[in-house]
């Protein structure tokens, strides 16, 4: 059916969200206008505030409205270990694992020479100055297991070597509960070549 211009604008605006097509944008718009105008007002207020005030942490490039994000500002975290990830969602995923107590550095992407994405776009100069600060002992390269992710890790590892900082790469292998039969050949070959000793003396 033909919607009024304002309604059409609203539907088009909602469709910028991932996973939202014509049907769900219509459901969201009707819901907000029909039943939850208060909720709509809250979205407006918090979205406006977030857009205006949320930037990147000056140290790790995670989203924050303060100079340092909560992790970088937490003195109990080990400042000598920096885990390099591609996206803020990766930080959340590693935090949920609960095993990591160091800091992060968020590249907001990965090296992709064919798309012209190089070190500058990924904030590498900021990371490099941290490698040179004398506090950083180790960088953990937790970029994705893709060709671009490997290119990114390889490059950062060579920078770390120049600064005499230890560089490690997260292990790739068989997922928990995974049966070998169903693991793809690329992952299995990684798992075999990067095997670790058991019952080390």
């Amino acid at each position: 059916m033909a919607f009024t211009p304002l309604m059409q604008d609203l539907l088009a605006a909602l469709r910028c969200l991932p996973g939202v097509g014509p049907k769900s944008s219509q459901r969201m718009a009707f819901h907000l206008l029909e039943r939850n105008r208060e909720g709509a007002q809250r979205i407006i207020t918090s979205l406006a505030a977030a857009l205006e005030r949320i930037g990147l942490c000056s140290r790790c490039r995670m989203f924050t409205e303060t100079q340092l994000c909560t992790i970088c500002g937490d003195s109990r975290r080990d400042a000598g270990v920096v885990c390099v990830v591609e996206t803020p969602a990766d930080v959340v995923a590693i935090e949920e694992s609960g095993v990591y107590r160091g800091r992060y550095f968020v590249l907001m992407g990965r090296l992709s020479p064919l798309d012209g994405i190089g070190p500058e776009q990924l904030g590498v100069p900021v990371l490099e100055s941290q490698m040179a600060d004398g506090v950083t002992r180790e960088i953990i390269l937790a970029t994705s297991a893709t060709v671009e992710g490997e290119a990114t890790s390889g490059y950062l590892a060579s920078l770390a070597r120049e600064h005499r900082v230890r560089a490690t790469r997260i292990a790739h292998g068989v997922p928990m509960g995974g049966e070998l039969e169903y693991v793809d050949a690329g992952t299995l070959s990684h798992a075999i070549t990067a095997r670790t000793p058991m019952l080390a003396d």
Binding site: P18, P113, G116, V147, A151, S158
Partner: protein
């Protein structure tokens, strides 16, 4: 040609580049042994559970099947053709450079079986380790010949006589070597240097350096103002 129908059944192929498409799909640029460069849509390839995620990576020898018509075909199946160790470091950057060259010089839909062989060989050379430059030069040379910009490296085009190894020539773009004017600048080489480049003697450091100068000028000419992003990124990585 856009608008044509195409289908391939387990064709030996490489993925050259991939872009995200819609929520869960990917658009791939691939190089097939018979079909040359093709654009493919891999539906659902970015779903967390997609088995294609680990397969559709650049530089891996793959067997791809696709069907469709128009500019983009639909990927039907993708499986590894053989095991190949991952490229790393400079060799990996060299691989990106090869892919960007193909994307710039080869049109979709033109079959280039020779180029596929040259590309496979270049990847094998990059995997073998050592200096990456000879593999890159050899591929540039073969690529130019394959797409119809082959270099004339054996005769003087002005006088239509074979090159004199002892003489000095200026290489004129789109034409070939002409006797160099005295004190002339530009792309000048001796006859023996041009002959050695033509024979692909890239294991000689001198010929390797000269061929880089020549091929770079020729590539830049046909790129017509477009820049190679991999080269810029590599330069900023070396900085």
């Amino acid at each position: 040609m856009s608008g044509s129908t195409s289908s391939a059944d387990h064709e030996d192929s490489y993925v050259l580049h991939a872009w995200p498409y819609q929520e869960t799909s990917q658009i791939l640029e691939a190089l097939g042994a018979q079909h040359g460069r093709v654009g493919l849509v891999a539906r659902g390839a970015r779903r967390p559970t997609s088995r294609w995620r680990s397969v559709l990576q650049p530089f891996l020898p793959l067997r791809l099947s696709w069907v469709g018509r128009g500019a983009l075909y639909t990927l039907r199946s993708a499986e590894p053709a053989s095991f190949a160790p991952a490229l790393t470091g400079l060799a990996l950057m060299g691989g990106f450079y090869l892919n960007e060259l193909i994307l710039n010089f080869v049109r979709r839909g033109d079959p280039h079986p020779g180029l596929f062989i040259a590309y496979s060989q270049a990847l094998a050379d990059l995997r073998a380790g050592g200096d990456t430059e000879p593999a890159l030069r050899r591929f540039e040379f073969q690529l130019l010949a394959e797409v119809g910009y082959g270099l004339n490296l054996d005769h003087d085009v002005l006088n239509d006589v074979p090159l004199d190894p002892a003489a000095v020539y200026e290489y004129r773009l789109e034409q070939g070597p002409v006797p160099a004017a005295a004190g002339g600048g530009g792309l000048t080489f001796t006859g023996s240097e041009l002959l050695a480049i033509g024979r692909g003697e890239f294991s000689s450091p001198v010929i390797l350096r000269l061929s880089k100068r020549l091929f770079r000028a020729v590539l830049a000419h046909y790129l017509d103002g477009r820049t190679l992003k991999t080269r810029e990124v590599m330069a900023s990585m070396r900085r």
